[in-house]
Point group: C2
DNA sequence: CCGTGCATGTAATTCGTTACATGATTCC
DNA sequence: GGAATCATGTAACGAATTACATGCACGG
């Protein structure tokens, strides 16, 4: 049982490598140049993470000598790596993630269609909608009861957070509609 | 020059202690029970952070013996602590923060009225609006150009992120209007 | 007397950040 | 020949997570 967690960065790397085997440098550029910029593109984060994945048997690197450039290693997933990626993607969105780790949920969902198929994506969205529908009202209640005694900027800051969750809830509905229309 | 950074958690603690001196336990409960739950309420995070602040001369603890409970330390800000808090709050929202560290911006803004006054809050919102107005279109462009080749769930995930920024932009306008009305 | 809440802490481990270091190639 | 880009790494440090440990007080 290789039940050790690989961390969020590790899973992000697995997801990207599933789509196409890449070098560490190519992965860094994805983090630097696309909206996946939540992750740092620093070599001190990426290369050790890639090494951990390889050491855990989840990826394997192939040394490319062909191009005239400096030796460059292209990583691809092993069967164990694919298993780990699927295990992670199959996790339903937890309450805790919905409340404080939205980034991780977005990342999981982004990979979902390709790796798990549309029906998994729909199930994920339905579960997410359920959780948000339960959470948003409790935040609104907090704001209604505690907001009056708060300074304006503090109240507005909380309001901004609540609006974020409400927007995400609205988004799940539109996303579900998009999957409906596809069929 | 005590120019060492105290970290996001450190600044959150300074802000809370400015409002009212508290024990570590009381601070933990704030993180556990209010929407400030982005921060962990684990003792392994809070107590070492409080100790760092005290060691840096930013806070001082007073041992309370009065209550029958176990000895309990109530921390309050020193003048240096207030200076550090104000220095942090005076930072304008950077592009990088707008893109990837929204939490920190929200936290700064939440404390702003009390510590820096309304005009600082308004300035902060104006700067934030400027940055968001510049950033959102570039994200929309990315989505328009790269979105077509992406799997549906990936495109929707990016869309969710963009919507978040758009919601925040809308919020800055309403927040500015709220300050206008107050005058 | 046992669980729950108040209250504070430490140790091991893991991970990210910052900064530094190296080396090849291409373009000007 | 020097800058920019491709490409990979390490070392020192800081900080969070998890898990454990302690101890008082109160209600049932």
């Amino acid at each position: 049982m290789t039940q050790r967690a690989v961390g969020l960065l590790g899973n992000a790397l697995l997801g990207l490598l599933y789509q196409n085997p890449s070098s560490g440098y190519a992965l860094r550029r994805v983090f630097a140049l696309t909206p996946m910029s939540v992750f740092s593109d620093s070599p001190g984060a990426i290369y050790p993470a890639l090494r951990r994945l390889a050491k855990g048997g989840l990826t394997r690197g192939r040394l490319e000598k062909s191009s005239g450039l400096r030796r460059r290693q292209v990583f691809h997933l092993t069967p164990a790596g694919i298993r780990e990626l699927k295990r992670w993607l199959a996790l339903p969105p937890s309450r805790d993630e919905v409340m404080r780790r939205t980034e991780e949920l977005s990342l999981r969902f982004a990979f979902m269609d390709q790796v798990m198929g549309k029906s998994a994506s729909v199930q994920f969205l339905q579960a997410l909608e359920r959780e948000l529908k339960a959470y948003v009202p409790s935040l609104r209640e907090y704001l209604a009861s505690a907001g009056n005694q708060m300074p304006l900027s503090a109240r507005l800051a909380v309001e901004s957070g609540v609006r974020g969750y409400e927007t995400r809830l609205q988004w799940t509905r539109e996303a579900l509609a998009a999957y409906e229309k596809k069929k």
